[in-house]
Amino acid sequence: MSTPQGIDVSIEDKRVVVDQPPPKDHPNTCPGCGSHYRDDELVRHLRVCPHCGHHFPVRALERIGQLLDTGSFVEEGADLRSADPLGFFDLRPYVERLAEAETSTGLGDAMVIGAGRIEGSGCRLAVMDFAFMGGSMGSVVGEKFALACESATAAGVPLVSIAASGGARMQEGILALMQLPKTVCAVDELHDAGCALLSVMTHPTTGGLLASFASLGDVILAEPGALMSFAGPRVVQQTTKEKLPEDFGRAEQNLRFGHIDAIVPRSELRPTLARLLRLFGSSG
């Protein structure tokens, strides 16, 4: 089972974390069984290893293609871009990281939102992309999620969120933390309008994401093996000095402890969401 790669799961940490980057496998080599695939093979299999079932990460637009009825997606809020309120500079300036991320991913930030249909049922979508700065949540992700809630409310349809994030975006400092209450309040207004949030957690959904909207779904689904923890394994390991359980923070553990409704293999995600949209659509 793969482990989160270079994501900030250290939110809350005060200790030294020597961040050894994991051995660079080719992205199409399965961390579960070592099988290697051509990209078109993986796409055909929804990026799930046919041999061992390992779920590879899925980029936002490819995910939308997997889930929505063909041609039904209409993107919203595509023009939103982050500012650099703190003039943040670590080893490199934040603005430089942003520019690089936009170039390499072709996205404005780590979340894509819009309207679409699943098996004919209308919904709004908020899909995160881990490739954009580890799916970290800054003010643009927060704003886009809030817009998606408002759009769902206006249309009177459920919002489907697909989370993939290491947590809050440190480079926006306290303003990144403020995206937690902001998205929580957005869900509250969505609920006031009688609309549902269907939350899907994919690998990884950690830190500020798990501590805000992703945990507030009326129904919470997770992909097999997805890491869903507030603090990351390394931080917990260093804090507690205990050996962590094999499935620490994984979807399987979260199901056992009552935090999610179901673990849904990627191949069943579209029909499962369709069923839920029919069930939630038929109300108010």
């Binding site: 005060k14 500079f89 809050a168 400092g173 909207f213 804090t239």
Partner: protein, 293 residues
């Protein structure tokens, strides 16, 4: 729950958080200009060293903790225990207190003073059960129309195996949602370390204040340094970069005001610090009374 009453205050906070300004640039609101005068009492061009000094003051071992303020600002007080489910997490204290002849509900993190108490209080790092105790008391306050005061002082929610298994992330999310739904006036004050999600879980309030030497941050300076600089000893540089001090939080409109401390810091005079806090809290509640219909 009649959550409409507080919504003006809440929505006001929301629009502040909306970050539109951040995305498109804006100018100071009239309210902010008023706060600006407070801000001017602080140096608004702080050096990295000054920012770091505030971090050290926020963590000072002699700094007053929640219960030090409770015994000074409330007349009668009754502590409430337990989450009515599995545990009573002593990293979070809750209770009912009399403030200016009115009953107020109190929830706050509590660090320990000596080593024995620090361990018992888990250094102010709550488990999910602590946030569930907080939510239970919030709902009770809402039921009886008691205004809610939260005192925020934690390095963060506890990062442990059991805490994760018991749903740390979900508990923090639901605690914020519970605060958002309250129909009573809510005031949050960061009195020491406002550490990330564990802090914001108790800080979604109509009015959010910070003490002059408190800090409020998305991650600890050490954590940030270890990730971005690959070296925790660069904490001072990290703190300077993400600016967790009250002055900058006010500048960024993340908080509504700054509560002054005795010269030299709250730890130099607990009684005076408590009196200054009491005045600020009473003032904040009074303003909210006017907002509410």
């Amino acid at each position: 729950m009649a959550s409409s009453d507080a919504e003006p205050g809440l929505r006001e906070r929301l629009s502040k958080l909306a970050g539109i300004k951040l995305l498109r640039g804006t100018k100071l609101s009239a309210e902010l200009e008023r706060l600006q005068r407070q801000l001017d009492r602080l140096t608004d061009e702080e050096t990295d060293e000054e920012v770091w000094e505030r971090v050290l003051l926020a963590r000072d071992d002699d700094r007053p903790y929640t219960l030090d303020y409770v015994e000074r600002i409330f007349g009668e007080f009754f502590e409430l225990h337990g989450d009515r489910g599995r545990d009573d997490d002593s990293a979070i204290v809750a209770g009912l207190g009399m403030l200016d002849g009115k009953t107020v509900a109190l929830v706050g993190q509590q660090k320990g003073r000596d080593l024995k108490e620090r361990v018992a209080r888990n250094f102010g790092m709550a488990y999910p059960e602590g946030y569930r105790k907080a939510m239970r008391v919030m709902e009770m306050a809402d039921r009886h129309g008691f205004p809610l005061l939260t005192l925020v002082d934690t390095p963060g929610a506890y990062p442990g195996v059991a805490a994760e298994q018991h749903g740390q992330g979900g508990a923090i999310a639901r605690s914020q949602a519970a605060m958002a739904r309250l129909g009573v006036p809510t005031v949050a004050v960061v009195i020491g370390e406002g550490g990330s999600g564990g802090a914001v879980a108790l800080a979604l309030a109509d009015k959010v204040l910070m003490q002059e030497n408190a800090m409020y941050s998305v991650i600890s300076p050490e954590g940030c340094a270890s990730i971005l600089w690959r070296d925790a000893s660069q904490a001072q540089k990290a703190a300077a970069a993400f600016k967790p001090d009250a002055a900058h939080c006010l500048e960024l409109e993340v908080i509504d005001g700054i509560v002054p401390e005795p010269v030299g810091g709250a730890h130099t005079d607990h009684d005076l610090a408590a009196e200054l806090l009491r005045e600020a809290v009473a003032g904040a509640f009074a303003e909210l009374e006017h907002v509410a219909p």
